[in-house]
């Protein structure tokens, strides 16, 4: 990242000259970007609320919980799971 020019914003986006003592206004690109981000965030929040509000791992649960590995028994004839079924406490 090269150093900025000596007075890169002698005339800022808002046209204010610092020598005149007027602070620059917020550039249009910041306002437009902020608006877009705000709309997207509100849309995402609305989707979460409409979807039931559950944003954690349990939203993928379909009756059994991810931590119920101790009850998992491989079907007869299949190789056992590499994880020890007696392990508890993860997740």
């Amino acid at each position: 990242m090269t150093d900025p020019p000596r007075y890169p914003d002698a005339l800022s986006d808002s046209g204010a000259d610092p020598d005149r003592g007027t602070p620059p206004g917020m550039p249009r690109w910041v306002k437009v970007s902020g608006l877009i981000v705000g709309v997207v965030v509100l849309a995402l929040i609305a989707i979460m609320i409409i979807g039931g509000g559950d944003h954690g791992p349990s939203r993928h649960a379909t009756g059994d919980q991810p931590t119920e590995r101790s009850e998992h028994k491989p079907p007869a004839g299949e190789a056992p799971s590499p994880r020890d079924p007696s392990e508890l406490g993860r997740g």
Binding site: M1, D3, S12, D13, P18, M26, W29, V30, P57, P66
Partner: protein, 177 residues
């Protein structure tokens, strides 16, 4: 910052930030595979790989990007709060890193489920596409902002610039006194 140190810091920042983008693209590919594949081993493998990639590649790259970005901002005349483009890049990078770290435990939980789940349960997991997809867009926006550096001084930057001008004006006047 001396020019040599600044170049090293810049090279490091570019490496980790672009690496972060690449790692997210790879992560998305795994998520797409998890969604589209009907093979249980592929889905399990994709989820396990997503967990490993997330914790051991993406999270370290994100933290390194944040740290090197801070070093670049504070160590050069751009500063962290003087220009809107730096401020916007910093805020977006911080948000992306925070969401990533908060989201990874969910990925770990789902990877744990995938390890032991059977066909129907495995299919119901789907893939992790929303968070990395939105994250990728955010990272690309930050990249564009960093390259184009759109103009705009903050009020703080404007005050600092005024102070520097007054200082430099005073230094120029001194030899003539």
């Amino acid at each position: 910052m001396r020019p040599g140190v600044r170049k090293f810091a810049l090279a490091t920042h570019l490496t980790v930030s672009v690496g972060w983008i690449g790692a997210v693209v790879a992560y998305l590919a795994l998520g797409v595979a998890a969604v589209n594949s009907r093979d249980a081993q592929t889905v399990r493998g994709a989820w396990i790989a997503m967990e490993l990639t997330g914790w051991y590649v993406i999270v370290p790259l994100a933290l390194a990007t944040l740290l090197t970005g801070l070093v670049m901002a504070l160590g050069t005349k751009w500063g962290l709060l003087r220009y809107y483009w730096v401020l916007v890049a910093f805020v977006l990078t911080t948000l992306a890193t925070a969401v990533l770290i908060l989201h990874m435990p969910t990925v770990s939980s789902l990877a744990d489920v995938a390890r032991d789940a059977d066909g129907a349960r495995l299919e119901s997991l789907g893939g992790d596409l929303l968070h990395p997809g939105v994250g990728l867009v955010v990272l690309l926006v930050v990249q564009v902002v960093n390259v184009y550096k759109p103009p705009g001084l903050t009020r703080y930057g404007w005050r600092k610039q005024g102070e520097q001008r007054r200082q430099q004006g005073g230094q120029r006047a001194a030899p003539m006194a």
